[in-house]
Amino acid sequence: MDFQLTAEAQSIRDEARDFVRKEWKNPGHDLTGGLAAWHGDEDNRHAGGEIAKEFAKKLVDKGWYTMHWPKEFGGGDASIEKQLAYREVMSYEDAPASLGGGLVAPVLMVHGADWMKKEFLPKLATADIEFSQGFSEPDAGSDLAGLKTRAVRDGDDYIINGQKIWGTYRNDWIHILVRTDTDAPKHRGITYLIARLKDENGDYMPGITVRGINDGTGNHRWDELFMENWRVPAQSIIGEENRGWYAAMTTLSFERSNIGRPAQLLRTLEDTIDWFEANSKKGTEDTLARAEIRNRLASWRVEVEMLRMLCYRVGWMQSQGLVPQRESSMVKATGDELFQRIYRGISQIMGGYGNLLPTNGPKYKLPVNDFLPARGWQSIGTSIGGGTREIQKNIIAQRGLGLPR
């Protein structure tokens, strides 16, 4: 047993920490997807995206952005431990990017046609392209394989009709799941495509309509995508026709411990304590001396540590060539819930300050990290997106513990 990271992993952690502290100053944009909205509008969100991209470029120059990719695709073949250490410190330092390629890169590496690899992987490696993701539909959420968007072959094209939701469909390209066989069992009639949403001039392709959806705070967060007789070349298939479900489940052996979650929560706790230390001098009461406050802060710290250990376990399993399943679901279910409770709790103990938006000017500059209300709000969605908490618990119970369906 050894809880210490390898020397190589420790050294990337130290190097990345120094690098981020030198190269990154958060300008007050939410770069994790939830915060830009608080600062105003779409322009601001766009600006946030540009800043994140600029930082990602620096990581590209350092050779870190694709350290997890296989050598044959220009990556660094980094060990799982190295990836884990790097991600942990990047999240702790609130860096706007760490590893590149998202979900699409590994899928293309394994299942993509040659032209796709040539066209997209180099751009993904340099942070020059982003994909929209077309998975969820209004009637296919947790039951994703029940998706209905229909693709019918017509000569060299598919003609696609249907609707997608809960993505942002503003990129030039989309990777999308469609139904190509309505008679087969639901997982076996799905095809995975990579297709142009917009043409070279930035206009949506014929048949595509996009409509924004606001979240509960009135800010634009997602879109709906309507497809009406949208023509997509048949060469867009990732993998094989009707085998799209399985291609989409490809994860490669990239680190997926979700270590960023406990790292970010730890940082939040530390920032909160700093804020109280700075502010309790001004007041008459030392909040941090109150037993119930200490108990709550320590309780969150304990849970963050427990979550961190569950994440390390996933990383360790991967480093052993094992495939974590229920172990990953434990991390997701536990991490989402803790994220929610910590942000809710901190905003409670901060009283009215916890509800202030950062748009009030310097006099009412937000405590913690400028992001408290936004992240608190965002946290509500984490146990829904990416597989709901209930789905995670089903996986733990059924695949992990062998309980009957």
């Binding site: 047993m1 309780s299 434990m330 618990k393 513990l401």
Partner: protein
């Protein structure tokens, strides 16, 4: 990073499980609940023979010199089998002597512990039931080459069968800093003036009150440094908490396994209740609690073994395990329905002990305050 067990550790684990299944099955556990000593001499001798008592004792003193983590793995099995008797206490005193004993003390006690000749226990808490330095007030006055002890210790496990007690006492008045003036003594439990009264507890875990009346202890029996024993005691409390966590993890794993097995087989409305999502989510919560407990526990124990700073990690572990143990036990009962509430069902053997271990070496609140301190709040 390697969060798995070595081949040797796997073997230690599987042999321990086999040993307990054969020598101390649940029927034995039940018998010992009715037994005054709480363990048979026969079993204690067998425990010595398989090498558990000498596991961490160096070879020169009759043991096999294995690590603290190895002891933790064994303790997990001891918890898994709810093994009755003073193994935990004897092991913890062994840890204390190894960490802080003189060569002479090691040579005197360790071989006897390793071969099963003496049973030992730690006598730390007093009637105020505190674990901080201010809670150590048992009076010990130096008279010539002896200390003379007057006072009492409470919640001393298995004192009634112990030959040796590790007793923190107050040798100087607590001034501004209660950490000053504490001395740890190795006390012959059969000394004149010691009286042991066994208490009845929910866990039938043989908690005792030990009173000391003019008990003479040689100054040669000071463990560590006289008057400066707090650091030694603090380390012992940490190791106690960490090893207790291991024991709890073993018990929790068995509670989970028992529950999963039950809900797979219990049929209502024509289907196993384990097919209902409400039950499945209970079980998923339990499994997450158990796995979280395991890794947070071993992180703390490993750090202690490596002599790394471990205040936060050990207290985080005990806080988490103490609380999750109660959740897991309560959920297991809910899943078992009425049968799990009966004496004939084995679940109660675990629930009652987990309840006792929750507060042993500090409960969640105690350790959260320690975490707060470690965070410099």
């Amino acid at each position: 990073m390697d969060l798995g067990l070595t081949e040797d550790q796997e073997m230690l684990r599987s042999m321990a499980r086999e040993f307990i299944e054969q020598e101390a099955p649940r029927t034995y556990v039940r018998d010992m609940e009715e037994d005054d000593r709480g363990i048979t001499t026969d079993l204690w001798q067998k425990i010595a023979q398989v090498g558990w008592l000498g596991l961490i004792v160096p070879e020169e003193h009759g043991g096999t010199g294995q690590s603290l983590v190895d002891l933790g793995i064994l303790m997990e099995e001891v918890g898994h089998g709810v093994l009755p008797g003073p193994f935990f206490n004897t092991a913890l005193v062994t840890v204390g002597i190894l960490d802080s004993g003189t060569d002479a003390q090691k040579a005197e006690y360790l071989p006897k512990i390793a071969n099963g000749d003496i049973i030992a226990s730690q006598a730390i808490m007093e009637p105020y039931s505190r674990l901080d330095a201010g809670g150590i007030n048992l009076d010990a006055k130096k008279q010539g080459e002896n200390y003379v002890l007057n006072g009492s210790k409470l919640f001393v496990e298995n004192a009634h069968v112990s030959d040796l007690l590790l007793v923190p006492v107050r040798t100087r008045k607590a001034g501004k800093n209660a950490e000053n003036g504490i001395t740890l003594l190795l006390v012959d439990a059969n000394s004149d003036g010691i009286k042991v009264d066994k208490l009845k507890t929910i866990a039938t875990d043989n908690q005792c009150e030990v009173t000391f009346k003019n008990v003479k202890v040689s100054a040669a029996n000071v463990l560590g440094e006289a008057n400066n024993g707090w650091d030694t005691l603090k380390l012992l409390l940490q190791k106690g908490a960490s090893l207790r966590c291991c024991q709890m993890v073993g018990a929790l794993q068995e509670v989970l396994d028992m529950t999963v097995e039950y809900v797979k087989n219990r049929v209502q409305f024509g289907r196993p209740i384990g097919s209902f999502q409400a039950i499945q989510h209970y079980c998923a919560n339990m499994a997450t609690d158990v796995d979280g407990s395991r890794f947070i526990t071993y992180q703390g124990l490993w750090r202690l073994g490596e002599e790394l700073p471990s205040d936060l990690e050990v207290s985080a572990a005990k806080a988490w395990v103490s609380d999750s143990a109660q959740r897991v036990a309560a959920t297991a009962h809910q899943c078992h329905g009425a049968i799990g509430f009966t004496q004939e069902h084995d679940l109660q053997l675990f629930t009652r002990r987990l309840k006792a271990w929750e507060v042993s070496f500090g409960d969640g609140d105690y350790h959260r305050e320690r975490v707060a301190q470690a965070m410099d709040i």
